[in-house]
């Protein structure tokens, strides 16, 4: 009987039906937003797009990328919107033909730098310097190489944090390999994420840190904010629709929503900057157009993606 059963059966693999029992399409958003932010965005999108069942997978940019890549390799990922903080991954996905071309109508109001045919910036975070109250800190990223600050500062791990990798790439493009070597010689500790950097500032283990403005604004009083004189590093948070997505129309509506007034108000409420010119600033920070941004040329994201492998290898050698 067992043999008969084995002969008579066949095995199929495929994605689960992405419609819920009431027929609504399910749109999975894979995101690097913090969980509290996901809760707020989730509640708002349920209210404004009640005919779409929006589900979230939340993790760091790298965890999202690992899961998505593994699911894609297994056949197809259920993700319909990718919303992380590592722009170079989106460039890589575009080059591999894995992202759909879609530009939300509202994206036409954004500065050109924030819009690509396959992904669009929905929020902007800034990498700045945090200094423990009462401690002396540098006025610029360049001053981190000053021997006066040897062993006093740290950053997140660029190998595991998309925001930190983008920052190191910016410093590399602006100042070159020699500058990275001088930072290393000045006791550069690159470990953990932005929260770990903030923890080291708070405990005074390393009273100076290269850290996201978002983290500093969410924990006021832990560190003084220094907007570097050589420019804060802009970290765009892109959104894109992968070609695996089977509910394309619903995904496009969700991406439209992410650039809409409700989502953008939530971005600002979450202590990040909206990419729209003239948008209100998050509490405790100046507007984006009043902050000096690091001058990184026309195609910073593309250059970051193109040099990503080389930069990571150079960083690995630097650490030895």
């Amino acid at each position: 009987m067992l043999l008969f059963a084995l002969i008579a059966c066949r095995v199929e693999f495929g994605p689960s039906d992405q419609r819920v029992a009431d027929g609504r399409p399910t749109v999975w958003i894979y995101t690097a937003l913090y969980q509290e932010q996901v809760d707020a965005f989730g509640a708002a999108v349920r209210k404004e797009l009640p005919d779409i069942d929006v589900q979230w997978f939340q993790g760091g940019s790298e965890k999202v990328a690992q899961r998505w890549e593994a699911e894609h390799a297994a056949g197809a990922s259920p993700a319909c919107v990718l919303l992380t903080s590592d722009p170079s991954w989106y460039v890589d996905l575009t080059e591999r033909g894995l992202l759909r071309e879609y530009v939300p109508p509202l994206a036409l109001q954004l500065p050109r730098d924030w819009v690509e045919p396959t992904f669009v910036t929905t929020r902007v975070d800034l990498m700045v310097i945090g200094v423990r109250p009462g401690a002396k800190g540098p006025a610029s990223f360049h001053e981190l190489a000053d021997p006066a600050f040897v062993g006093q500062w740290s950053s997140g791990d660029p190998f595991s944090s998309g925001t930190n990798f983008t920052t190191v790439s910016a410093l590399d493009q602006k100042y070159g390999q020699e500058f990275l070597e001088s930072l290393d010689a000045n006791g550069w500790m690159m470990a953990g994420g932005n929260s770990a950097v903030l923890g080291r500032i708070e405990s005074a283990e390393r009273p100076i840190g290269v850290v996201l403005l978002n983290n500093l604004l969410l924990k006021p009083g832990v560190a003084d904010i220094v907007f570097p004189s050589d420019g804060a590093v802009p970290i765009p948070g892109p959104a894109a629709i992968p070609t695996d997505c089977r509910e394309v129309e619903a995904a496009e509506r969700v991406e439209d929503w992410l650039l809409g007034p409700t989502a953008q108000a939530l971005v600002v409420h979450s202590r990040m900057h909206s990419p729209f010119t003239g948008a209100p600033a998050p509490e405790g920070a100046p507007p984006l157009d009043a902050i000096r941004l690091m001058d990184l040329g026309d195609d910073f994201i593309g250059t970051t993606a193109a040099r990503a492998v080389d930069l990571r290898e150079r960083l690995t050698v630097l650490q030895k």
Binding site: C9, S16, R67, A70, R312, Q319
Partner: protein, 543 residues
């Protein structure tokens, strides 16, 4: 009695035994072999290893050092727990260093021993960001495994042997080193193998201490992590190759240690526990020192951090962190879910591990050895890599269709089942090794006597085997529960909506929140594991 129902070996009636093993084999193929196998597709082969000699060398040093520290702390504690009647709270506390996730004890260790302003740095010959620091944290974290193994091994030793030595004039120390310790050899070797595998596959401690060192200290798990992070799409093959090296280590170490044990027979026909001794004397000082370093210091630091106004400073306390964390419905839900999943995973792992362990020791065959190797493999693989294997295997719905009319569907992705199965598969080595060592110490004559007297296989298992193996099974259950209760690496990758567990809450707090709130979550883990430990240290009625 129908003698033909019994096979030549000590095991069950043949049909029942083979059916059970077939079922276990099928489960291992589906939930271990397939995920691990899919990881190896396209892997770069062992050709990547020559470039990783520094990582391999550091990993070996980490393994050896951790085993040394774990033995140094675990052996005296296990001896005291076996020979003297400890208060049950203290006996439960033995498990605590293993229960608290290494991420959190490492955070405490950094506060205590970082080179800049660590509280104890000036008293130590090394600081936190060093290989010695990593060895210390891992060794203390895994010392309960050794302690429980020694406690259970000594519990099976005939007390007449030690009493005879004492009556003949041997000092307690001499009795320990010449009688007790050698007879605990199988359990000790199993624990050493376990500690070595766990150290090699550890990620959290090397990531927080080794990556932050200057220069960074590469070990295999960090290299695997970098391979996955550098190129999520193409790094998996290299990560799989390096993981294979870890699996080889994880499977080879017990084999080497079994060779060391040789053909010596450590079995005992005793079936009752020895009476507790009176005065513990100098041993109590050793245990007190271990308790202070492995339990009070890190957990005390975590407890203080959970109420600190400013991280790393003791100049202000508040309960706001506790109110925030406990006030979140998500945390309460994660606590309930983690307790349920850990209990289920522990029960399944002990059941499967004990069956395999007893069968392989009583009727060793090549297919069984392969099955045991398969069961042990996931423990040697970093959690994040094993989780990726699960994603590769189960992210799609699997439909088995019979004759176009009957369909069975398996859709595990994003469900709590996926987490529970991953925890079970990952932790099988724990009860398998522990129970196997216990079976090795069990004299066959006890089972044979029961059968010769007319007992069925079931009766023999219930009346003879289970009571004697129960300490090792209960210890295995407690260890799997502790390992699964706050598991982080796999949970972060495998969770879905509504399946949040304490490990993911802890990871969120460590990555995006505050160390104080992470410490609150860690203290919840301590409380639950203490409670579980109290339950598991109660002696079964038949002992």
């Amino acid at each position: 009695m129908n003698a033909s129902r019994y096979c030549k070996s000590d095991g069950a009636p043949k049909v029942m035994r083979n059916a059970l093993l077939l079922a276990i084999g099928a489960l291992l193929v589906v939930f271990v072999a397939i995920p691990l196998g899919l990881l190896t597709i396209g892997m770069t082969g062992l050709g990547a290893l020559p470039g990783e000699w520094e990582a391999i060398f550091n990993t070996l040093l980490l393994c050896l050092g951790s085993v040394g520290v774990a033995m140094l702390g675990g052996i005296p504690v296990g001896f005291v727990a076996a020979r003297w009647k400890l208060p049950s709270a203290l006996e439960s506390a033995i498990l605590l260093p293993f229960a608290v996730p290494p991420y959190v004890t490492t955070l405490a260790f950094i506060l205590l021993a970082n080179p800049s302003n660590g509280l104890f740095t000036s008293f130590l010959p090394f600081h936190a960001y060093s290989l010695a620091g990593m060895i210390t944290v891992l060794g203390l974290h895994l010392s309960p495994v050794v302690a429980l193994a020694v406690r259970d091994a000594l519990g099976r030793i005939d007390p007449a042997l030690e009493e005879a030595a004492r009556v003949s004039g041997a000092t307690p120390t001499s009795v320990f080193f010449r009688i007790s310790l050698p007879l605990s050899f199988p359990g000790l070797l199993a624990a050493a193998a376990f500690v070595a595998s766990a150290s090699a596959a550890s990620f959290g401690v090397p990531y927080m201490l080794g990556a932050a060192a200057s220069p960074p200290i590469p070990v295999l798990t960090l290299r695997i992590f970098r391979a996955l992070e550098l190129q999520p799409s193409t790094g998996r093959p290299l990560a799989a190759s390096l993981s294979l090296a870890l699996v080889a280590v994880g499977v080879a170490i017990p084999s080497i240690l079994r060779l060391l044990q040789g053909q010596r027979d450590y079995s005992s026909a005793r079936s009752t526990r020895p009476r507790p001794l009176p005065n513990a004397g100098a041993w109590s000082l050793v245990v007190a020192a271990w308790l202070f370093v492995a339990v009070l210091l890190p957990i005390g630091t975590i407890a203080l951090t959970s109420v600190a106004t400013v991280f790393g400073h003791l100049d202000g306390f508040t309960l706001v962190n506790w109110e925030t964390v406990m006030g979140e419905a998500r945390t309460r839900g994660a606590l309930v879910r983690s307790t349920g999943l850990a209990a289920v995973a522990a029960t399944f792992a002990v059941t499967i591990g004990s069956l395999l362990a007893h069968t392989i020791e009583r009727t060793p065959t090549r297919p069984l050895s392969a099955l045991v190797g398969l069961a042990r493999a996931p423990w040697a693989v970093p959690g994040s890599v094993f989780a990726l294997g699960f994603v590769l295997a189960f992210s799609q719905e699997i439909r088995v269709i019979f004759g176009n009319h009957v369909t069975f569907s398996l859709a595990l992705s994003g469900t709590s089942w996926m987490l529970g199965l991953a925890y079970t598969a990952k932790s099988l080595a724990i009860p398998l090794d522990g129970v196997r060592a216990a079976v090795r110490s069990l004299d066959r004559s006890l089972e044979e006597s029961a059968r010769v007297s007319g007992a069925t296989w079931g009766r023999t298992v219930r009346s003879v085997v289970l009571p004697l193996l129960s300490p090792a099974m209960i210890a295995g259950w407690a260890l799997v529960f502790a390992a699964s209760f706050c598991e982080v690496s796999m949970s972060v990758l495998l969770r879905g909506p509504g399946t949040e567990v304490l490990g993911t809450r802890l990871f969120e707090q460590l990555s995006y929140g505050s160390p104080q709130e992470a410490s609150v979550v860690a203290m919840l883990v301590v409380v639950v594991v203490l409670a579980a430990g109290r339950l598991t240290t109660r002696r079964p009625a038949w002992s």
